[in-house]
Amino acid sequence: MTTVTPSLDDIEARLATLRATLMSFIGSDRIKGLLSLGPSISVLGIIYFLPILALFILSFGTESSFTGFEFTLEHYGDIFPLDPLLSFNFADLLYLGLLAKSLKVSLYVTIVSLVLSYPITYYIGNRVQEAYRLPLMMLIMVPFWTSYLVRTYSWIPILSENGLINGLLTTIGLQPLQLLYTPLATNIGLVYLHLPFMILPLYASMAGLDAAHIEAAQDLGATRLRVFREIVLPLTMPGAAAGVIFVFIKSTAAYVVPTLLGGPNGILYMNVVVSQFRQTYNWNFGAALSFILLAIVLAILYAAQKMGASLGSAQMR
């Protein structure tokens, strides 16, 4: 029974090597990366991706819980009912009809946003003195960061029955118009809310235009139209594509705008999806409807990626 008492020096030496290995372990990029990125990745994984996955599983389930889960395709079948599809009774395609309506609205909104964005981004990016560019862009971005709910209903006092526009119309002796609670109001609201998503990426590519290019073309006698068509348009394509994608996706998923401005006849796809969760408690069907939308969104993103749209520029809100 002889216990070897290690000398103090021994312990110290061992502690030093232990500390050194520990430090090199903690100090390694791998661990640092794990410690710094790990929390965010797990938070996003558990709180973001898990709910999306749960929704996906539910869309194939018979009941609105995961216990007693039974696989079924009936919800997707209800969205794409075969009978009306084969007999061309398209009026019976309630959900697909609404989806088509939403996609059509998004298309209009995207086109209008694109047309509105070209002059302002070209002007700020190429015509305005360098010193004013950033302040002007800030002026575009600031309202963008304020409450979208407030920005949505700020159109009510303008469009309502006795609102600003009808007030002006009656003062000059014209008949008032029904503007609020119409598809037009939804379209205006969507363009208003989403315009900056188009302006920002488009401006990024406008600012990247080389003024010398344009001047050279003009010196060689090209008309403005030709300069626009042959220089500005092709070079700003990536920015425009990013804007188109973001505006389109956001408009297709719009719920607040059609609800507050569209009125009872202005409901769009998302209104029906929301009611599956909040009114009829048909979560499985709501989940299936959501994933039809997500599939469209992912298809658009995939196609855009293939075509080389610079999505990164629009990602920052």
Partner: protein
């Protein structure tokens, strides 16, 4: 040249028109918040006075404020760490994939996420209310905070850190005395963006908020659906001023 001046004037008019389009509705809300009784162009603080008695709005304002503070602290902290991880450390190797991972919540519609969170909170018996809203807002805000930090760190001059280390400072001291002060603008920007995003967020709160826990956007949504009451103009003006102010500061910080 006359043709060109026409084009220039056209561009100028279109730009001015777009600015009017962006600002007129907000300006009208502010104008209406100061109206007196029935005359739309008067000036009074009546609607602000009425706001003081609108307890449901004030309660909602207080709740939104508290949620936004909690979300801001958590998301900014996670965002700083994530930014450091993405820019500095070689793990994981594929930075592009990590950035894509963080961008997914920004790209996919938030409303679908709100459905998912709604379903999961029910299934795991997480009570609807403030805690569920905070959870939802953290993941909604975190990608913004992380990306603001990434862009801040990419412009960062790491030679200053090396100099501090060369002069004998250890990693901790360098982080505290050099890295953090230099990153302060980005951190503040991330925090302010996080606050406004959470403060103004509606869809997630609408789905996982409870009967007792009603945030300001939820309350405003209900009020607008029932028909506008005058206090909505005054509270909206306050919201606009607050979020526009914070966004302005944050954008300045981000660009500095």
């Amino acid at each position: 040249m006359t043709n060109n001046t026409y084009v220039d004037w056209g561009l100028r008019a279109a730009t001015a028109g777009t600015f009017v389009f962006l600002y007129a509705p907000l300006f009208i809300i502010v104008l209406l918040s100061f109206q007196t009784g029935d005359t739309p162009l008067g000036f009074s603080l009546d609607y602000y006075q009425q706001l003081l008695d609108a307890t449901s709005l004030l309660d909602a304002l207080y709740l939104s404020f508290r949620i936004a503070i909690v979300v801001m602290v958590i998301s900014t902290t996670l965002g700083i760490l994530a930014g450091l991880g993405i820019v500095r450390y070689a793990w994981p190797r594929n930075t592009k994939a990590v950035l894509a991972f963080f961008s997914i919540p920004l790209t996919l519609p938030i409303i679908v996420y709100a459905f998912g969170l709604f379903v999961v909170t029910t299934y795991f018996a997480i009570p609807r209310g403030a805690i569920a809203i905070v959870l939802g807002h953290i993941v909604y805000v975190l990608p913004f905070a992380a990306l603001v930090m990434v862009s801040g760190l990419q412009d960062f001059d790491s030679e200053l850190e090396e100099a501090a280390m060369d002069l004998g400072a250890d990693e901790f001291t360098t982080a505290r005395e050099v890295t953090l002060p230099l990153l302060k603008p980005s951190i503040l920007a991330a925090a302010l963006f996080s606050f406004t995003l959470s403060f103004d967020e509606f869809l997630i709160a609408y789905f996982v908020g409870g009967k007792g826990d009603i945030t300001l956007p939820m309350q405003i949504f209900t009020m607008v659906r029932r028909g506008i009451s005058p206090t909505i103009y005054s509270i909206s003006t306050l919201i606009l001023v607050l979020s526009a102010g914070l966004a302005w500061i944050a954008l300045q910080l981000e660009r500095s």
